[in-house]
């Protein structure tokens, strides 16, 4: 298997989908010759032309809505939101339309739409270019939410998302674009809704996804030196969540930390923690601990930014709390 960058794995999935399925089109700002703000679509314009790689004006609600209409009528649009922060402009089309139409129109239409959203902080871009907003969409019935943590999953999950007949929010952790890893060649999909055990342990579980998976593994390494072995569960799909995998790890360890890049309050971790509380209470030896960004906007200056983001130190402190 060739090694490649996370960003290249995403491009490979797009490329293969464009080749395999003539109804796939990409839409977004500057995704043509410029290749998108993160270079993900570089080269695709040259290969597929402007009818497949559709550059849009800066009109997020509009072009997401156009993609919804196109998805209802035979196309499979894959939309790039340049920075996830801008997705809020399209919240109406995603939540009130894309996610609901199949249900409220009683199955008469489908909305096979993928919305790619680079997310996360750590680059000093400031409060309007650094958010993880997946929590904002977690309650939206009819929407799926996916977030890969490895190049292989980036390719396989995106390929699966594009073939899914539902609207899928595909979160790309900016911090991982430069990560490298082995990626299966050719047609490769990873099923939505299935978590991945990124590391096996028996003493505690770190449940996380996306850019926090490497953080969790780093902390697990340190914990291991102290004699504690951690399961690291990479959720991969946030909605619908793999409850079976959740239960399995909790049943094994009885002690959990939920870790995410986004803010603590109202985060993905709240849902994970609540599910565990509901379903696995008897297995719990300690209260589920959350580690996340602080409840602040993301400041721009690097030291300030780091002060609000989750860290290995915060994880270790949470692990301590589990064994108090």
């Amino acid at each position: 298997m060739p090694e490649m960058y996370f960003s290249d794995a995403i491009r490979a999935a797009l490329d293969e989908a464009l080749t395999r399925d003539a109804s796939v089109v990409l839409m977004g700002e500057d995704i043509g010759p410029y290749g998108g703000a993160f270079g993900i679509t570089r080269g695709l314009h040259e290969k597929y032309g402007p009818e497949r790689i559709i550059e849009t004006p800066i009109s997020e609600n509009g072009f997401v809505g156009v993609a919804v209409g196109a998805a209802m009528t035979g196309l499979r649009p894959v939309v790039e939101i340049m920075f996830m922060d801008f997705i809020l402009l399209a919240a109406d089309q995603i939540i009130n339309h894309a996610a609901k139409l199949h249900y409220i129109y009683d199955g008469q239409v489908k909305v096979p739409l993928v919305i790619r959203a680079p997310a996360g902080a750590g680059r000093g871009y400031g409060a309007s270019h650094s958010q993880n907003l997946e929590n904002v969409f977690l309650s939206v019935a009819g929407l799926k939410i996916v977030c890969p943590a490895t190049p292989a999953d980036a390719k396989g999950l995106l390929a699966a998302a594009i073939r899914d007949p539902n609207p899928v929010l595909f979160i790309e952790p900016k911090a991982l674009y430069g990560a490298r890893g082995e990626v299966p060649e050719g047609d490769y999909t990873v099923p939505l809704g299935v978590a991945r055990l990124a590391r096996e342990g028996k003493d505690l579980s770190i449940i996380t996804y996306g850019a926090c998976v490497p953080l969790a593994l780093a902390a697990a390494g340190e914990l291991s030196e102290g004699g504690l072995e951690a399961d690291v569960l990479d959720l991969r799909t946030l909605k619908p969540m793999d409850l079976t995998a959740l239960e399995a790890t909790v049943a094994k360890t009885g002690r959990c930390i939920v870790l995410e890049e986004g803010p603590l309050t109202g985060g993905i971790g709240a849902e994970v923690s609540a599910r565990i509380g509901e379903r696995c209470f008897r297995a719990l030896k300690a209260g589920v601990q959350r580690v996340a960004a602080q409840d602040t906007p993301i400041p721009s200056a690097t030291p300030l930014e780091h002060a609000v983001l989750p860290s290995v130190a915060a994880l270790l402190a949470a692990a301590d709390r589990l064994f108090e």
């Binding site: 559709i54 649009p77 089309q93 009130n96 009683d106």
Partner: protein, 317 residues
Amino acid sequence: MPEERLLSAYRKMLLIRLMEERIGALFTEGAIAGTCHLCIGQEAVAVGVAEALELGDEVVSCHRGHGHLLAMGGEPARLLGELMGRQIGYCRGRGGSQHLSAPGIGLLGTNGITGGGIPIATGAALSAHLLRTGAAIVCFFGDGATNQGVFHESLNMAALWSLPVLYVCENNRYAMSEPVCRTVAGGDILARPRAYGISAECVDGMDVEAVEAAARRALAPLRAGKGPAFIEAATYRFCGHSKSDKLLYRTREEEAKWRERDPLTLTRLKLEKAGWKETLPWIEEEVRRQIAEAEEACRRSPLTPPETALQGVYADA
């Protein structure tokens, strides 16, 4: 319009009028819950545009969509069934008055978010354009919707990409209680599409023949790949915005003036002049029977079982 077509247009308008009146009555009786926005007074717009459409064309409508559905050939029993939560309903009662869908007859969907259908229609036109289906897409909305940002975003894209979409603005002078003069700066709705280079025309929305002619004029270049078009249909809603509206924001005089231009009366007069006077009562009787039968069919249809509400949130692969 040839006389036979005008007759059938009249029949459709009458069906819409009498259905809307019946729906209003059922609502008052409590047989229909929720809310509904009737299109009484605006029938000529729906029917005039629908008359200009071809098989395969598709319509996206707004919150005031019963007329558009019926003009496209929707079944009264299935419309009523939708409002009454019956199995026969177009969406078995899931959608309700504001969220109808009947893709089988070219009605992609109606929409409870003002302006929400405009990019969706534009996207359907993108499909038609890229998949070379040859279809034209029609998008209905009101004057108030032209103040939504997404209206502008959508028209801009449709024009940039030469998409086959006809935007039909039913300017009934009010968005709920707010008159156009207080919501549309400059007062000129046509200036908006024109700012994007979209050819736009205002038409008498009470005259079904004029509407049909305008729609044909707009659709011809559109079908030939010349990009989107825009029609402003000057019309009036005779009823309240929704069933709870007390109509405090407009005068009875204004209403009476517009009632003089009732699209049904205007068409009836034309048909009478053309020698169809005898036929008209017969048509009305037929439409009334059709509605009565629809209501019966609807009432015969079982209520949608509550447990189905938990199904179908996601589409299966």
